[in-house]
């Protein structure tokens, strides 16, 4: 019987979780307006496909929820969607060139807005303690409803974040030693 994930995919997912957590922690410590907590998920999406990336994303936020912040656990569905959409984009050739990577990042962002906005608006009243709260407050002040302000902010912040993350992950995977990338038969084309 073949297991769902090969051992290789499993260790890759564990490395992906580690990346997500280390970088996400760094971004939140430095109070950056972006999260940087999906780079590992993107790397897994590129090398092992949508399902592995989905699990990586969800696992990251669940573990995070227990270890440091319950806020992260609430956003686990978002992390999963990022992995799923990024993996599907990668499989469809969305990481073959720079313009395609940017388009993939946009698609991921749209998916994130759909899932994250309700969570952020209803569970946390629009605030999560990051630099982006200021924008929510500002937009809210200009006169939009809370949910609209949140959606707009989520879109803006995530677009920046996902573009940076996708580009970083893409560069990383392109620069991998050939000996390693050859052992991922399901890896998406990156050039």
């Amino acid at each position: 019987m073949n297991p769902l994930f090969s051992t290789r995919t499993l260790t890759l997912m564990s490395a992906g979780i580690a990346f997500n957590m280390v970088l996400g922690q760094l971004a939140s410590m430095l109070k950056l307006p972006i999260f940087l907590d999906a780079i590992g998920t993107f790397v897994v999406a590129l090398l092992a496909g949508p399902l592995a990336a989905l699990v990586t994303g969800v696992a990251t936020n669940l573990i995070w929820g227990v270890l440091t912040s319950p806020v992260a656990a609430a956003f686990a569905p978002v992390a999963g969607v990022i992995g799923l959409v990024a993996g599907l984009c990668a499989r469809a050739g969305g990481f073959r060139s720079l313009p395609r990577v940017l388009l993939s990042a946009l698609l991921v962002t749209v998916a994130v807005v759909v899932v994250a906005t309700p969570i952020r608006a209803y569970l946390f009243g629009g605030a999560t303690g990051s630099g982006a709260d200021f924008f929510v407050a500002y937009l809210n002040a200009v006169g939009s409803k809370l949910i609209e302000s949140v959606a707009l902010t989520v879109f803006g912040v995530n677009l920046a974040d996902k573009v940076v993350s996708a580009l970083l992950a893409w560069t990383l995977v392109r620069a991998l030693p050939a000996r390693l990338s050859a052992t991922f038969p399901a890896a998406a084309a990156v050039r």
């Binding site: 946390f124 709260d133 407050a137 200009v142």
Partner: protein, 236 residues
Amino acid sequence: MHPFTGFALLPPLLLLTLRLTDARALAALLVVLLVLVWMGGEHRVRLRRWALLMLPLAAGLWLVHGRYLDSLVFGADVADRPQRLYAAALLWLRVGCLLAGAQVALRLAPPARLTRALFASRLPPSVAYLLASPLLLSVQLRRRLAEVTEAQRARGVDPAAPWPQRARTLIALAGPLVVWTLSDVGERANALDARAFRSVPCRTTLDAPAFTARDRALLAAALAAFVLVAGSWLWR
């Protein structure tokens, strides 16, 4: 005490925080939990971690729900500010309680024992591995970072350099760490395969953390609390 027992207290806690709608009651709960955190080991780190997350969240909630920008910049009518802020405070207290509760649960589960418990649990080995991986990797990453820092210092990277050079330093240190973590994926998979990882469905675990009568009692208490809180909610 079994490392998992602490986490069993989280669901009733979650339910309880949702059930309590009075800020004073929530605040009292929060104080109790924070005192519990303070009484445990490593309380300095844990309390700092708590504060690092909760203080910015407070600022964010205050900014968004106080609608200070509205009134200051646009002169909007914010007569409902107290109600809004009260709701935000409730939310903040709930998150704070959960975070403090998680810290209490973690105190009861040191990484080595938690990993062992995960591998000994009924979870499939692959799931146990994924859940344990941050615990396992954080030790190795820290060790590895020390090695990388040493090697790069020998080549002239100054970890205590002034700011303009700091970015360069960061790249020089983060680069090898990332390359290593990814290159290590293959080696680690080979090592796991070589040790017959997942080759039989049921693995043995030496010195598996025992599930004692006390754990059972606590688990029962947690379940009872859960039922109690849920029941009281439904009753009303």
